[in-house]
């Protein structure tokens, strides 16, 4: 009879401290800027101070004469390199040719115009000041609605209407539903431009070996493999002569899910000079020239019955694209459309997107990428409808939720929600908040003339992006798992963490599956010469897809391990557990290390079995995953100043199976604080002439620890059937859930004044003006 050996301990599901952290918090991690090479040059970029201008000439003589300057390149030198790629294909999309250095015109403040190469970075920076660019400024437009107006300056002269694309999606009898609706509510809702502000700015080192004709690019990137394919194309070199390494990446939030001019530019310089070259983005450059997020103006209409059941949703979405398409720029608002109905049963939807060029840096994916905007919209609209119908915001949500027995659920926007039980996190959050008591307290507070608000959001999102047909660059992920001759385990994954902690979660899974120690697993990523092709880390996909690829590779590996085990034990009935292969008859066993040694020494091989212990898997997910949750925020407003106090913040997230509660909590905390940034403080402001007014941290307010509330957290677990790990994803969840909960709370606080909606960020002054009787 077969004996089953039950595992003594499993790591999955436990609060394991992150193995990444010691190197991060002791300053011993290797970022791009830590890379030093003999004879390395340094590059510094001359950028446009104008939002729109013709370039009449560039005088580089003084810079070239500065001792230590090696070269200056301008648009003319690199006109055949590139263009900076746009990975999106929408019908009729207008794609401006995006040169890596401006040619005869500049289109936004921060547009790269020339590059100085020098012996050190200080000389390079000094030389930038010696370059004189003869700009002839022209009219600019920085606001997407103004750009659509008759007679607005054309961002790209060939397209005077400033429209890059129109996109339409519709389901059901929209006009009929709205014509027959018992109630219709409408609202204009904006989601302002945000600046990603990863702690580590971007940076690139390029190193060319002329003998081998081989280029290596080190870049702070979320997508090293895609970068390799795209940059090889930009430079016109064979893909297999380019190696891309993304070393430690200090935060990305989507802004490093991109290929920028600088990667190709440094490659060009390394090839041209034959020397390695480094460029590190300054904070000011980061704010001006790295993509921004959001940038929506949304016009919503919701049709409903008097009992609160939503019957139709209409959205006109004006997307501020900026001046060019970066990798995914035009795709981001289409994600908003997919997410439009939120967690609600309404299938009658119509969406129209207008993608608008402005003289600003491009927008692109930023934590949540399209889903926060959509969630903000629907969660605001549901509250507006509840106010119109004098219903409690909880009641109206419960009335419209898709029920737990309706999954898989086909939405009106073409998605198939995998699994869900939307009342579960909401009920948990309401209990944690003591909702009824809070409402009673609010009644008293109002009677006393105080402005106390209770706001909630019940959000959903699209994670584990995604099935390849739905993703611009392929949505699968890869893993190779190797047992080394000594028995330690090496995982090569195609994902590229930037702080999410997958070295830890993947180690937990691999250690459990192979019965080895947590520390015996090394997870490698981010080097195209080490790791088989992969896609990268974004869209809350890494564990759900990359983790699954690893899990499946391990299953295959276990079969091989057992074959070697059976051979060593001279048995045909073995099982594998806790790192040992055991003969089910004799009870004799061999360790993984013994098996690995035998597999590599290969004195003898099992029938039809090759030496070594390695397996690979490329996993194509059958669907996205759809996590959800409920956030409740209690606010109180200082009547005299308009300042908002977050009295309580409750976040209940359901991200499927939780592999490491500590990491989930970290993602939720960080996500909430980032959402608070949008709700209360952050705004990338361009003035009418296209100057960025929030170009440094003295003016662009990201929340600091002292501005962050205590967050009361809980998780519910509704597994997904989409992958064998049953995980959904949590990297973006809390950011998505946060901003509508905060705004709903503040609007609730001010509702006695007749306030129905406020646009973010909710600055104290904006609230004060509302209190003065004006409208913000």
């Amino acid at each position: 009879m077969a004996t089953t050996i039950t595992k003594l301990d499993t790591l999955v599901g436990r609060k394991i401290k992150r193995k990444e952290d010691p190197r991060l918090i002791t300053g011993t991690a290797t970022y791009v800027d830590d890379i030093q090479m003999p004879g390395m040059y340094h590059a510094c970029i001359v950028r446009s101070p104008h939002a729109a201008a013709h370039i009449r000439g560039i005088e580089t003589k003084a810079a070239l004469e500065l001792p230590g300057v090696v070269a200056v390149y301008t648009g003319a030198d690199v006109k055949d390199v590139g263009p900076v790629p746009c990975g999106a294909s929408l019908p009729g999309l207008r794609v401006p040719h995006h040169h890596i250095l401006a040619q005869d015109r500049v289109y936004y403040v921060g547009h790269p115009v020339a590059v100085v190469v020098a012996r050190d970075r200080y000389i390079a920076r000094d030389a930038v000041d010696l370059i004189e660019v003869d700009f002839d400024p022209t009219d600019a437009v920085a606001d997407p609605e103004k750009a659509l107006a008759e007679g607005a300056p054309a961002v790209h002269p060939q397209w005077p209407d400033n429209i890059a694309f129109n996109y339409h999606q519709e389901n059901g009898e929209v006009d009929k539903v709205f014509a027959e609706a018992e109630v219709v509510v409408k609202q204009r809702i904006t989601s302002q431009r945000l600046i990603p502000c990863s702690m580590e700015t971007r940076g690139v080192v390029a190193d060319y070996r002329s003998g081998e004709k081989a280029l290596t690019i080190y870049s702070s990137s979320q997508i090293p493999h895609l970068m390799r394919s795209l940059v090889a194309g930009m430079l016109g070199i064979p893909e297999n002569k380019l190696r891309v390494v993304a070393p430690e990446v200090g935060g990305g939030f989507g802004c490093k899910l991109n290929v920028y001019a600088e990667e190709a530019l440094m490659g060009f310089i390394a090839i041209r000079t034959g020397k390695p070259v480094k460029w590190i983005e300054s904070r000011r450059e980061h704010m001006q020239a790295t993509i921004h997020g959001r940038g929506h103006v949304d016009y919503y209409e919701i049709a409903a019955r008097r009992d609160g059941v939503i019957t139709g949703i209409k959205l006109k979405l004006i997307q501020d694209l900026g001046s060019y398409h970066q990798l995914l720029t035009p795709v981001i608002p289409t994600l908003s459309v997919l997410m439009m109905p939120g967690l609600y049963r309404c299938k009658t939807v119509r969406a129209d997107i207008v993608g608008v060029f402005t003289n600003c840096v491009p927008t692109d994916a930023y934590r949540g990428a399209g889903r926060p905007e959509a969630t903000h919209g629907i969660e605001r609209m549901v509250d507006i409808l509840a106010a119109e119908l004098k219903m409690d915001p909880v009641e109206i949500r419960l009335k419209n939720f898709i029920h737990s027995d309706e999954f898989p659920y086909a939405t009106g926007t073409g998605l198939m929600y995998d699994s869900g039980d939307y009342t579960k996190p909401l009920k948990t959050a309401l209990e944690m908040a003591n909702y009824n008591e809070l409402r009673a307290e609010q009644t008293k507070a109002r009677a006393a003339g105080r402005y106390m608000g209770i706001g909630l959001s019940t959000y959903g999102e699209i994670c584990a992006i995604g099935p390849s047909p739905a993703t611009p660059a392929g949505g699968w992920e890869s893993a190779t798992v190797r047992v080394e001759p000594s028995g330690t385990v090496t995982v090569l994954t195609g994902i590229k963490p930037q702080g999410q902690g997958e070295e830890t979660t993947f180690s937990q899974i691999a250690a459990d599956e192979l019965g080895v120690g947590f520390d015996d697993v090394v997870v490698m990523h981010g080097d195209t010469s080490v790791v088989q092709y992969g896609i990268g880390t974004f869209g809350s996909r890494a564990t759900a897809i990359g983790g699954t690829a690893m899990y499946l590779a391990i299953q295959e590996l276990k079969t091989k391990i057992k074959r070697f085990g059976a051979m060593l034990l001279d048995s045909d009935d073995v099982s594998y557990a806790n790192g040992r292969c055991t003969c089910n008859k004799s009870g004799k066993s061999v360790s993984l290390a013994e098996i690995a040694g035998a597999a590599h020494r290969a004195m003898k091989l099992p029938a039809n079995t090759e030496p070594g212990l390695v397996a690979s898997n490329f996993w194509e997910p059958p669907n996205f995953t759809f996590p959800f949750g409920a956030h409740i925020v209690v606010t109180e407003i200082d009547k005299d100043t308009g300042a908002i106090e977050i009295r309580r913040y409750i976040a209940v997230d359901d991200c499927g199976k939780v592999i490491n509660p500590l990491i989930v909590a970290g993602q939720v905390q960080g996500g909430v604080v980032q959402g608070l940034g949008q709700a209360l403080y952050e705004h990338g402001i361009y003035d009418d002439s296209g100057q960025l007014l929030t170009g440094e941290f003295m003016d662009y307010a990201i929340p600091k620890a002292s501005m962050s509330p205590n967050i009361e957290m809980a998780s519910t677990e509704t597994p997904t059937p989409v992958n064998p790990l049953r995980v959904k994803g949590v990297g973006e969840a809390a950011t998505i859930g946060c901003s509508p909960a905060v705004v709903n709370s503040v609007v609730d606080a001010l509702s006695p004044l007749g306030v129905r909606h406020l646009d973010m960020p909710l600055t104290s002054e904006k609230i004060w003006k509302v209190l003065q009787g004006g409208r913000a």
């Binding site: 200080y122 000094d126 100043t641 003295m698 002054e765």
Partner: protein
């Protein structure tokens, strides 16, 4: 963000410092918390940076009769945490504690802050309310300037080229005096959108002395003598405070920027003046 090339010099006496500063390209540095960001943004490009940190005697805090004498190189952290300052001049300790973040307070100095004269800096309000004396040295002599004359305009003070602030003197707080510094933070920088420093003495149920210093509202910090005149002699009731606070922004050309409009700043000045006065009166009465 990289500054232009400069020489870095560390004199060990005031005399040496004056020698090194006798050069149009030279700039003195205290904590560097304002100077270095300006150099990185290339808004300042000194050829010589003369760091005062090795000049002895510039960071002493000592009681001298009815005055507290504070060396120019005393850090914000030292001012917020030194028991003598907290007891004898709580207003200054409160203003110091309200500055930026821990890292900035550990390095930035009072001398550097007031020399820089950022219109939103915190100390100037307190120093106006304290009628501080600022001792300024030059090669071969020194002079003393009152706070009200020292702060002249945005980033502009009474300092002449080649003069150094060496000491700031403030009165030891008398019995029955309460003080409070209240500010609204600019969320990005932490500076004051407006900051109000109030000192009030109570005598027999009446306000016998009141001083109000304002920062952030206009181009320069100032003492709100009109507020003081309305409050002194009153009982310091909420109504008295309200009436007095209402005039704090009168005649001031309020700043306006992306963080706050002039109208909102003026409103905040009134609110925070009332708050600082109430807190100061409550403290005075508690003594």
């Amino acid at each position: 963000m990289i500054a232009q090339n400069f020489d870095y010099l560390t004199p060990v006496s005031l005399a040496e410092a004056f020698d090194l500063l006798n050069d149009p390209g030279a700039k003195v540095m205290a904590g560097g918390m304002s100077l270095i960001p300006m150099m990185k943004l290339r808004l300042a490009a000194p050829e010589r940076v003369v760091d005062l940190r090795h000049v002895p005697g510039l960071n002493k805090i000592q009681q001298d009769g009815a005055m507290l004498r504070i060396g120019a190189m005393t850090t914000h952290h030292e001012l917020e945490s030194t028991p003598l300052v907290r007891a004898a001049c709580p207003l200054l300790a409160q203003a110091a504690a309200a500055i930026g973040d821990v890292q900035v307070r550990n390095v930035g100095t009072i001398g550097g802050s007031i020399a820089h004269a950022d219109p939103s800096a915190d100390y100037p309000a307190a120093l106006q309310a304290l009628e501080a004396e600022i001792r300024i040295a030059h090669r071969g002599g020194e002079r003393t300037v009152l706070a009200k004359d020292f702060f002249q305009d945005t980033f502009t003070t009474a300092l002449e080229p080649n003069e150094l602030i060496v000491e700031i003197s403030v009165p030891l707080e008398a019995k029955c005096t309460g003080a409070s510094y209240q500010k609204m933070l600019q969320p990005a920088s932490g500076f004051a959108i407006v900051g109000i420093a109030a000192r009030v003495s109570m005598d027999g149920g009446k306000v016998s002395m009141v001083r109000v210093g304002v920062t952030g509202l206009g181009g320069s910090s100032y003492r709100a003598a009109n507020v003081e005149a309305l409050l002194v002699g009153s009982e310091g009731s909420a109504a008295d405070i309200g009436k007095a606070a209402a005039v704090v922004a009168e005649g001031i050309d309020a700043n306006s920027d992306i963080h706050a409009s002039a109208e909102y700043r003026a409103h905040l000045a009134r609110v925070y003046t009332a708050r600082a006065l109430s807190a100061a009166i409550a403290r005075a009465e508690a003594q």
